[in-house]
Symmetry: C2
Subunit: 201 residues, 2 copies
Amino acid sequence: MQQAPAMDEFTIAIALWDGVEELDFAGPYEVLAAWARYAERDIEVVIVADGADPVRCSHGLRVVPDRTWDELDEAVVVVMPGGGVNDRLVDGPLVGHLQCLAASGTLMTSVCTGAFLYAVAGLLDGKPATTHWGSVESLAEQFDAIEVRPDARFVDAGDVVTAAGVSAGIDMALHLVERLDSNEMARRVRRYIQYDPEPPV
Amino acid sequence: MQQAPAMDEFTIAIALWDGVEELDFAGPYEVLAAWARYAERDIEVVIVADGADPVRCSHGLRVVPDRTWDELDEAVVVVMPGGGVNDRLVDGPLVGHLQCLAASGTLMTSVCTGAFLYAVAGLLDGKPATTHWGSVESLAEQFDAIEVRPDARFVDAGDVVTAAGVSAGIDMALHLVERLDSNEMARRVRRYIQYDPEPPV
């Protein structure tokens, strides 16, 4: 494990890639960036991608990365959203980046099918984890060493935290704020985003 | 009111501007784009902004617009997110764009402080409406003609629908899917984004 980061080095990296599901990353981005605004220490939330060109998300939203993977020195937290996780992505350089971050002591978090990239990277072996409801069976079938929890909203397994599908990233991110800061701060962020859900259907 | 749009002209425009709050637009974007993917008619969800350059959102996220306002012929629905609604924005061309859309029969929807732009545009006179909890008093004080509902998650006033703060846009957008399509479709989208919130704090 690396040393606890200095106050001015608290980087939260949100990993984007072509095909990423919009709300998977936008939910945690909002929560963690609101925390960064309230916090008395210097926290930065950055979008990281392979290159500097805009990422094209699952439904077509185009987002400009703040950093390339080469420009990211370290991160205290990484958020790995899900979406169209395909063979090309799994066989690409992303898994190696994640393994490097995990080895340096980064707190690894995922939303939705982002968990599959952690599974391929071997980060979930022997650990409890979850993913989108439509993929829990597949995760369990493909990776024997993972204790898949189909009904969990998110699973905090210590150095890896995985969330269920899409909107579950909001709940997971509030948990991260509580874990890394305080219950009071997490409640403050929840109040700011007026997160008193009333699903109408 | 314009004619009911042909099946291939169902455009949903999400208005972005420098300072817009990320989740204000990303929540409805996810819900409406998921609907567009499931729907058997041709629905497009487009990001509209003043120019073609990336919009810099409230916390720093940079999003590439799909259309400029000049390129937007018409829209069946517009979503006006909130965030840093300041005098410069209110005095700019946006209010005029919104008045044109409303006059052409577009269903006007807002999230958070986006309601202030509709208020300035005169679209909420004599109507019930809501906004972020931190701005309900200000909305009521500045606009006598609006019946402000501080405790509503969203208010459907017919041709204008306003939502409370930030995350409330998700609930409002699910309501829009139910209203414009069906309860079954809205439930399908809710299931897709696994919207069974469990705020941990």
